[in-house]
Symmetry: C2
Subunit: 469 residues, 2 copies
């Protein structure tokens, strides 16, 4: 382009502007080229919404605090869309991680529970990881859940039901959750999520899932053995992970637990939210919970350590020119919100924020790296007044005012008392919500993350960033 | 600037770039000049957060729907900060409209209940409306609440307690809420909010509040009579408002109700959320609510009509060159969230969206207009799964799963069923939440609305936009 710019050694400004050639100046040209990313690192904070970020930020860093991705140049709000599986079109207003993960990974609006398949018609839809692979990129999936859980699965597998994590789940799980008999290989399907992962040729797989990968697949072989025979090096602890050295195209499989990994933080004595008790003197809130390192965490790697090793492996010198797609999930932000465990949730949000820092540092030297930080769906926990606003303003109010669900009080280092209410389910597990979720992005292609978008647009944004390298 | 650009009739591109003169090209120069706004129109959707916007969007326009301000060029998330009045520093994690309104209007972090005064030390702090007035701009305040309520009050008055709306409230209200005896003029204060508004010389005042303005002030005069004698033309219905014609510097006072105005929408038979009933067959949710125009709305003007008249009056030809500051509040998004009335809340969010359209149309011809749409604090309503996710996935689950608070089902035109849960207060009124809130902006100075900001930054952004015209 540059060679066409000069006209007889003399520039005409109006013509220069009229032709739109201002875009050919060095600074602007860079921006345009910048839509193509060599590397994509996608972070999913499961169950994160504006409210959950506020809770973590305030507890960790005070009212003025910021998480690592809060100052990313490009931010958007994304509509979360799900439909009924009965007709494939009727809107469903609250999703699960399978339908929303499939929106991010494959750009579809599908029904709850589906892993990379269409609502009603059950067609497999290509995922961004598969597209990146086809374009010659290395690929990685990291999660604090089982790597067969919904969010990691949507990048590597296609099933009608998320619960078909291992071969034994194909007829339904012991918890009474549905299976997917039509997805068995005998019926012409692709088998369980674990079996599909074994064939997916993903270069780096780190998380939990020993329970599912230790099962015998339809072909009679233990899934995990199939993977180690096929070239995966298996590591099982932080120490083994640290010792792994990238070596050519050898694949890395880190399994650090049967299913979901323990959280990095927990409440003292494993405490979580409790009900407010009523007395003649008024409502009695549970005592504040102290957050501390989870004694059950063990010798596993942290999410930061997994993220570091995944990036180092995917980007190591020998393969550097290929580029990569990596998905990193902080899964237990969601799982601990379900479980009404604020310390667990906040610790996993910190792990997300710190893992994003690892990617940001990588992108400082590898500038053609697109980093996206997002969520799949909103969640139940709410930061409510303690005591009730109607008590704070009118202390003599004779009507007892208190949250009907469970509540946890926290005392952040910055002072004051945070009250977190769990008000969506009277029984054991809190519900997802249907709120729009936040998206943070930086790097080539990130400028499309702007205003109000659809969650499924993230697929198109990543796909466009991969193209035409 | 332009005259310095040409060097001997011939342009040197590298020099042109090196000197940073690219900024002097017509397109870019416009952008730079664009930080100064002749007019500022600030919309506050009281109680709006990402979740409340999702509920309104989905009900009104379906899962793909957008509100008028959703595609504004500049958007941010704003931290909401409040402190204890005891020491003026300990963080309080859930605010009210007074502390947050004071943050927007005066750039301060103060304690709940305060109207333009500092926590603990009780100093009056100048408001953006007062600064705009001092800079020669016309000013206006429009609200669907009483114009003496917290959000409008923070722009025009300074009291220690928001409940001192009228002279009779200075010793405390009949509802047991505190007064502010030290703010009486006898004690050297500025009197009730109503009395301060009467002296504030705001050019356009539209909303409710007859109850408070009809009281006799400390100087023995009825506040309202003082205002009409002092040059306000009083209108009391949509018809009278429509008939008002701007005339020089005559001030306009529209009072359309005693206090908060009725909402534009309501549930059929005034229905709102109800408790889920338990039966042997499982939880029984309340029947869906049908949203309809509120039969109690009467002959009042809508928020759109008030916004149109306010803009037309403030911008009318005779005074056009002055510019103006206008605040428009859709107050009952918050009040109907407290009251567990989803139809009321959604109708008022539609009113906000449509009123912003009026401003957007004005800004098409008056390009030096900064429009900011924001909120003061988050609120309780949540879009939850119906039925519970744990029933949807496991229909044979024997444990009854249902929300512990009240719930409302709605059937949007787009299909499906939305379930809205109110889970923060077991008794009469839902609570505010502490979530970060959204900000949408367009026009000169709007580029500072980006990423994660503080709510109090909105004051600085507006102040900067007013300066150096």
């Amino acid at each position: 382009m540059k060679s066409h710019l000069k006209m007889g050694g003399c520039w005409s400004l109006p013509l220069f502007l009229l032709l739109g050639l201002a875009n050919a100046t060095p600074a602007l040209a860079l921006e345009e080229q910048g839509n193509r990313a060599k590397n994509i690192i996608l972070f999913i904070g499961d169950g994160v919404d504006a409210h959950q970020l506020t809770i973590a930020r305030a507890y960790l860093y005070g009212q003025d605090g910021s998480l690592s991705f809060d100052q990313f140049d490009h931010q958007a709000s994304a509509r979360v869309r799900t439909v009924s599986d009965d007709d494939g079109t009727t809107p469903v207003y609250v999703p699960d991680s399978a339908s929303t993960g499939s929106a991010i990974a494959s750009g579809i609006v599908t029904s709850r529970g589906r892993i990379g398949t269409t609502a009603k018609t059950d067609r497999d839809v290509p995922t961004i990881l598969e597209i990146a692979q086809a374009a010659g990129r290395r690929t990685g999936v990291v999660s604090t859940a089982s790597i067969t859980d919904a969010t990691p699965a949507v990048f590597m597998a296609h099933t009608s039901v998320r619960f078909c994590q291992g071969p034994r789940d194909m007829d339904g799980t012991s918890a009474g959750l549905p299976g997917c008999p039509k997805d068995t290989r005998a019926e012409g399907g692709s088998g369980s999520i674990a079996e599909q992962i074994a064939r997916a040729q993903v270069d780096v797989l780190l998380g939990g899932g020993t329970r599912y990968l230790s099962q015998r697949g339809e072909d009679g072989e233990i899934v995990l053995e199939q993977m180690t025979k096929g070239g995966y090096q298996l590591v099982k602890s932080a120490k083994e992970l640290a010792a792994f050295t990238p070596n050519g195209r050898q694949r890395l499989l880190g399994l650090f637990g049967n299913s979901t990994l323990p959280t990095e933080w927990a409440g003292e004595r494993g405490r979580f939210a409790e009900e407010v008790k009523l007395s003649e003197e008024g409502p009695i809130y549970p005592e504040p919970i102290t957050c501390q390192p989870n004694p059950l965490f063990g010798k596993r790697p942290t999410l930061v350590e997994m993220t570091k090793k995944a990036i180092a492996t995917l980007a190591h010198d020998g393969d550097r020119s290929e580029g990569f797609f990596l998905m990193v999930e902080s899964a237990s932000i969601d799982k601990q919100a379900h479980a009404m465990n604020p310390c667990g949730q906040i610790g996993e949000t910190l792990a997300l924020s710190d893992s994003v820092k690892v990617a940001m540092k990588f992108a400082q030297s590898e500038k053609d790296t697109l980093i996206i930080v997002t969520s799949d769906h909103g969640h139940a926990p709410q930061l409510i007044p303690y005591p009730s606003l109607f008590v704070a303003f009118a202390p003599d109010n004779p009507i007892p005012m208190y949250p009907p669900g469970r509540v946890a009080l926290l005392e952040p280092a910055a002072g004051g008392v945070m009250a977190i209410s769990y008000g969506t389910n009277a029984k054991y597990l809190e519900e997802h919500t249907g709120t729009a979720i936040p998206v943070f992005a930086q790097g080539p292609g990130a400028a499309a993350v702007k205003g109000l978008i659809n969650q499924s647009d993230l697929f198109s944004i990543m796909k466009a960033a991969l193209a035409d390298q």
